[in-house]
């Protein structure tokens, strides 16, 4: 590239060559992730789409058409509308989808108020004292705790409740709401609520830290202006600071939820890994909610499965056909995660555009 001049020492060219090579190595490393991502998606997609195997179709044409209708080819409607089955051709992800949906909703319900509340306390109320430092250090350590340890915690604290209630007595707490009653099993046992609470503990540090960052990004002039108008601290937070930080908080929350959605490990020990042929609260469609609104209250105390668990179960299955089902499940899971991430990015983007302080 450069013309050698007398000024150049002889080994300068070599140094430039080394530099160039180094740059290529680094550039390659950057692309490595992209390549792996591509290969991963292709191989999983290929596995998912090569089902049912062509060979399995009998020669007889008439049965073949019947067969094609009755198999739950991955990504066909039947795949979404059937429960898991011992026959790979009939297995689907209905229970898993609803389980995951319930988990996400419950985790959001638990983690958003608590997470944003903690962040508000840390950023707006606590002055830089020992307590704040302690909580902050604690948060960064909790964020590094492996998910399987949370699983153990969930099993001990929610499924078994530290053994405070013995399971044999089959105790349950009947909560009287105005119109109806809810049976709350104690301990929670291997139900949706145990799983949701466990995942909540898992994502809380992420939600808190993301919310803190969003709150910190709100310019202090907003707070000052609000105080100057005679607003109290909570009014300032509630009407000015939190709304201004909302897009940032939402982005963080959605990313955290999408992480929770893909987590299988914390749910393993909760024991959600059983064969489940029903959906929480027996709700399989939106219209079921109107037909049986009580199902909404029962659902958190039902046994459940979830997408990543169903996928793991299929991966672990000795019959090779289930590998294809697992791939199909993975495609569904990845699509949902991609949608969630896109949503988060859209919010972030819109927020950056629309707000100038």
């Amino acid at each position: 590239m450069s013309v050698p001049t007398k000024l150049q020492e002889p080994h300068l060219a070599r140094r430039h060559r080394i530099g160039k090579a180094f740059e290529w190595v680094c550039c390659g490393s950057t692309w490595f992730g992209v390549v792996v991502l591509g290969v991963l998606l292709l191989s999983v997609g290929w596995k998912a789409l090569t089902w049912p195997p062509a060979k399995a179709k009998p020669a007889n044409n008439s049965t073949a058409t019947v067969d094609a209708q009755s198999t739950s080819a991955p990504l066909s409607t039947k795949f979404f509308s059937s429960y898991d089955s011992r026959k790979p051709r009939e297995a689907g992800i209905l229970a898993a989808i609803w389980g995951s949906l319930w988990l996400i909703v419950l985790v959001a319900l638990f983690s958003v108020p608590i997470g944003v509340g903690s962040a508000v306390y840390l950023e707006e109320y606590s002055n830089e004292g020992r307590l704040k430092r302690l909580i902050q250090v604690n948060l960064s350590n909790l964020a590094g705790v492996p998910s399987i340890v949370y699983a153990l915690l969930g099993m001990t604290a929610f499924v078994k409740m530290f053994g405070f209630f013995t399971k044999d007595e089959g105790k349950s707490l009947v909560i009287n709401l105005l119109f109806t009653t809810v049976d709350v099993p104690l301990p929670f046992d291997r139900t949706l609520i145990s799983g949701a609470l466990t995942l909540t503990l898992l994502v809380l540090p992420t939600v808190i830290v993301a919310s803190q960052e969003a709150l910190r990004a709100v310019p202090s002039s907003i707070r000052t202006a609000s105080y100057a108008l005679g607003a109290t601290q909570w009014q300032t937070i509630r009407y000015q600071v939190v709304p201004a930080a909302m897009p940032g908080i939402m982005t963080g929350v959605i990313l955290a939820l999408s992480r929770a959605m893909g987590e299988a490990a914390p749910l393993m020990l909760i024991g959600a890994l059983t064969y489940v042929a029903y959906t929480p609260g027996d709700i399989t469609s939106v219209s079921d909610i109107f037909k049986n609104p009580h199902g909404l209250l029962d659902a958190p105390f039902d046994k459940f499965t979830a997408l990543p668990l169903q996928i793991y179960q299929w991966i672990n299955h000795p019959r090779a056909e289930y590998a294809h089902l697992a791939a199909a499940g993975i495609m569904v899971l990845l699509t949902i995660l991609l949608l969630m991430n896109t949503f988060a990015i859209v919010i972030r983007h819109k927020f950056q555009k629309s707000t100038r302080w």
């Binding site: 140094r15 080394i18 530099g19 680094c26 550039c27 390659g28 490393s29 950057t30 992730g33 991502l37 991963l40 191989s43 999983v44 608590i114 903690s118 306390y121 606590s126 302690l134 909580i135 604690n138 948060l139 960064s140 350590n141 909790l142 590094g144 705790v145 492996p146 998910s147 399987i148 340890v149 153990l152 915690l153 001990t156 078994k160 530290f162 503990l201 809380l204 540090p205 808190i208 109290t232 909570w234 999408s258 992480r259 987590e263 299988a264 490990a265 393993m268 020990l269 024991g271 890994l273 990543p308 793991y312 991966i315 697992a326 791939a327 993975i330 899971l333 990845l334 991430n341 990015i345």
Partner: protein
């Protein structure tokens, strides 16, 4: 000045406009809200306490009568030195070494792959890449980080082992590669930690002041020299912290490892055989629905405790290093 400070007559305070605090619902709500938010914030402390309480009572010393904790049944010495882990057999052994071995072999392979690639990518993004390329690459890395670990496990099982490892090692080098093997688990683990290493190291590299780079160029260094001999050493502790966090993640990683490496506790260094990590054991034990109170059940807590202590130690170390790094440049 004299005129200025001659006290002119004061306006009498207007009635009903007193400044004094009075009881009001607004003030009461203020206090309530504050207390509630403090409650939320201390929940994270409670979580930590619950984890510690759980491990102490289930693994170290039982507080409920008639039950024993794991280390009341199995001596710590046996746990740490026995070379066999066989809780499900009649002749039970509880030596953590095979599990530790599996964990560290796999995390080691993952680190050997993930750390250099992650660091190189970070150097490229912070020193060489155009801003546009960076903006394009960051979301890809985020996606990579967002892929669930079951998916990586599946990828290892159906792609890495049959299409990468077997052709390379079994066909060419005549080394037997099990279907479940530590190598494939290590490889995907390496991929999984790349985003962590890359983004944290990049932050560290970018925090190095411009002046330092310019000083390097002024001395006639090439970009390569500046990157590798000025910027990287200056960001060294930040990079180390990112490595530690990544390794700690690798050690705690569960599903991918459990799917790809299998569940065969083995004290060996052969990465082409099936191995069991601490995390995989915990998953496996939960599959068989071990009844509470049995020694196998309690062993879950012992293994979990070991894992917790190791990862916590690494995280604390990483945070300490990171803070030292911040002190230098902020």
């Amino acid at each position: 000045m004299s005129l200025a400070n001659v006290a002119s007559p004061l306006t009498p305070p207007k009635a009903g406009l007193r400044l004094q605090k009075q009881f009001s619902w607004v003030r009461a709500r203020e206090a309530c809200v504050r207390a509630m938010l403090l409650g939320c914030a201390s929940l994270s402390l409670l979580t930590t306490l619950a984890i510690v309480y759980m491990f102490l009572t289930e693994a170290v010393y039982s507080v409920t009568p008639d039950t024993t904790a794991f280390f009341q049944d199995v001596s710590l010495w046996d746990f740490l030195t026995d070379t066999e882990w066989s809780p499900q057999f009649a002749d039970k052994h509880f030596g953590i070494l095979p599990l530790l071995c599996g964990t560290f072999v796999i995390a080691g392979i993952g680190s050997l792959i993930g750390l250099p690639i992650g660091l190189a990518a970070a150097i490229y993004l912070s020193e060489y890449a155009k801003p546009k390329f960076r903006r394009m690459m960051k979301p890809v890395l985020e996606v990579l980080a967002g892929i669930p670990s079951v998916v990586y496990g599946y990828f290892a099982l159906v792609f890495v082992t049959p299409y990468v490892l077997r052709p390379m090692f079994q066909s060419l080098l005549r080394i037997d590669v099990d279907i479940f093997n530590a190598m494939s688990a290590g490889v995907v683990l390496g991929v999984m930690i790349i985003p962590t290493v890359c983004s944290l190291s990049e932050d560290a590299l970018r925090a190095v002041p411009r002046g330092l780079r310019e000083a390097g160029y002024a001395l006639g260094s090439t970009k390569y020299d500046v990157s590798l001999k000025v910027v990287v050493p200056a960001a060294f502790s930040g990079i180390v912290a990112s490595f530690l966090l990544a390794i700690s993640r690798a050690i705690g990683e569960t599903m991918a490892v459990c799917i790809a490496a299998g569940q065969m506790p083995r004290l060996s260094l052969n990465p082409f055989r099936s191995m069991e990590t601490m995390t995989a054991y915990m998953v496996g034990a939960s599959l068989g629905d071990t009844p509470a109170g049995t020694i196998e059940y309690k062993s879950l807590y012992a293994v979990g405790f070991t894992l917790f202590v190791i990862t916590l130690g690494m995280n604390i170390l990483a945070n300490w290093v990171m803070n030292r790094f911040r002190e230098v440049y902020e």
